[in-house]
């Protein structure tokens, strides 16, 4: 992969975003989407899948470490995204990795997230074109120490890149971008504050929280997200 080659873009269909993001997200690659709590990064991820279904019938997979699938279905009804209907139609699938439903598990000895990787690979092979993982922060807090999370996100990003799906991985805190340097060569791009700390190709300095040039994401109830250039 040469850095000079132009990266093919996948139009997200998110209102205004593709215009400020050089045509969309890097096609067939993972992109990191950064933003603090409440900044709308989960909504951005949801809408990325929803627009794929509405515009071009591209099936999507939502891997949720934060909200339960049930919460997301309910919250999305107000945006007019009939997720349960899409699930029945085979266009949307959840991998619900939220710990709310988890039983208490003891940890004894070494482990990795091999089963999660296998589940994602399996779901993608059923035909998904878009994948979201929400969020890196939750993976880090769940799997203590950070080393396992970092190593496994590397593996997941590599698996997604190999499968050739266009994907979003959301992240909350700045120090996690340090972790990104590990996965950067699998990442098509990163969306976040200036991106200076990561070696990933930064498509756009876009901070979901709201005010950094050149783009601003606005959360518009009833219309999903709207991205605006700040020029």
């Amino acid at each position: 992969m040469t850095d000079a080659s132009p990266v093919e873009r996948l139009q997200t269909g998110i209102n205004g975003f593709d215009d400020v993001a050089m045509g969309g997200l890097p096609a067939g690659r993972p992109t990191l989407v950064g933003g603090t709590t409440g900044s709308g990064k989960t909504l951005f991820a949801i809408e990325f899948l929803a627009r794929g279904i509405l515009r071009s019938g591209e099936p999507g997979i939502f891997v949720s470490f934060e909200e339960t699938a049930q919460d997301i279905r309910r919250n999305c009804a107000s945006f007019g995204f009939p997720i349960a209907h899409w699930e029945q139609a085979g266009q949307w699938a959840f991998i619900d990795a939220s710990d709310k439903l988890d039983e208490e598990a003891s940890v004894i000895g070494a482990y990795d997230l091999g089963a999660l990787v296998a589940r994602i690979q399996h779901a993608v092979r059923l035909g998904a074109r878009r994948v979201c993982i929400d969020s890196l922060s939750a993976v880090f807090s769940r799997f203590a120490g950070g080393a396992i999370a970092r190593q496994e996100m590397h593996r997941i990003a590599a698996a997604l890149a190999e499968l050739g799906v266009t994907s979003i991985i959301t992240a909350e805190r700045a120090h996690e971008y340090g972790g990104l340097s590990v996965v950067s060569h699998h990442m098509g791009g990163a969306i976040g504050p200036s991106g200076g700390r990561c070696r990933a190709r930064v498509v756009l300095a876009l901070w979901c929280a709201g005010d950094l040039a050149p783009g601003v994401l606005r959360h518009c109830a009833g219309h999903g997200l709207r991205a605006r250039g700040s020029r």
């Binding site: 990795a97 003891s106 091999g114 089963a115 999660l116």
Partner: protein, 102 residues
Amino acid sequence: MYAFRLYIAGQSERSQAAETNLRGLCESVLPGRYELEVIDAAQQPGLAEEHRILATPTVLRLAPPPQRRVIGDLSDHRRAAYALGLSREPGSAGGTRGGDQA
């Protein structure tokens, strides 16, 4: 009768360690009184989905209730026995004399 399901992902050293440790533990504590099923999540992702398995190795104790879940290669036999409800004592973190309770 005890029933365990061990989830692994591929035939790695870690997978084999978990299976060896679990079998050793069962043989010493529950000889002839247990069933162990090994599921490779890479081969049967649907079964991993069913029990919401993310980490491997993961052991589920399916019977008797309550269900218990232990993540890791079970390298510490004493703690593994306790976590799976096979001993009453938490044991030491060292686990040097693991699996010797009758």
